[in-house]
Amino acid sequence: MAKSIKIRAKEKGGVTTVKALMTHPMETGGRKDKKTGKAIPAHFIEAVVCKHKGNTVMTAEWSGGISKNPYISFKFSGAAKGDEIELSWTDNTGKSDSMSSKIK
């Protein structure tokens, strides 16, 4: 599976701002296929975890109410430029992906 995450992290004045984009259909399970009338099965990211040096800085729990190809941004303190930051997601079918990036 190709990498589904883009992540940018920037440190300024002690606060690191993390921005990430994930590629995912985010189907709620409530939509129907227009041609066949059959329900499209739910397929969405349930959990996103972001770690810095082994510490979990942010955990997100999502329902299907998050938009397709989700975007997320948050801030945390205590990191320095050049540190690694890792973000991973898990969806309701058990698939997962992760990506790490250096803080700029």
């Binding site: 606060v15 985010m26 709620t28 409530g30 939509r31 129907k32 296929d33 227009k34 499209i40 349930e46 959990a47 975890v49 770690k51 810095h52 082994g54 510490n55 979990t56 800085v57 942010m58 955990t59 997100a60 729990e61 999502w62 329902s63 299907g64 109410g65 998050i66 938009s67 397709k68 989700p70 975007y71 997320i72 941004s73 948050f74 801030k75 945390f76 303190s77 205590g78 990191a79 898990t90 079918t93 058990g94 698939k95 997962s96």
Partner: protein
Amino acid sequence: MSNEMKRRIFLKRSLAAGTVGVAAATGLLAPQQVLAAWNKAAFESKELPAALDALLGSSEMSESADIKVKAPDIAENGAVVPITVDAGIEGVESIAIIASNNPVPLVANFVMGTGASGFVSTRIKMGKTGDVIGVVKAGGKLHSAKKEVKVTIGGCGG
């Protein structure tokens, strides 16, 4: 679904569970965070108070002027509504985002870890016009702020 398919999914899931187990064993994840991985009851609840009870253990909250919910006044496309919750409160534990008129009102919950500040930004789907509520848990209490978003094309139907 055939038995073969079921078995495949079962295998995949057990593999995924295995990785979480390893992470817990190596101390990367605290055990309670593993348990809190996905709150099915809260995220499938169609009633807001019940969802909040299941998620945060309470649905009592007070409105706070320190929390800012940034969202467009009018969302032309309900499938992508940018939302930012900025809580000017110390010791934020978690931020939940709720679209009150969605079929499943609880959209997301962000649990803040080490050093994280009370700021989160994402994009949500909205079925129809309604309030977007940011529920911030700080010091064991719930604080909220809301903003009405008018939706011209819903993002939840087909």
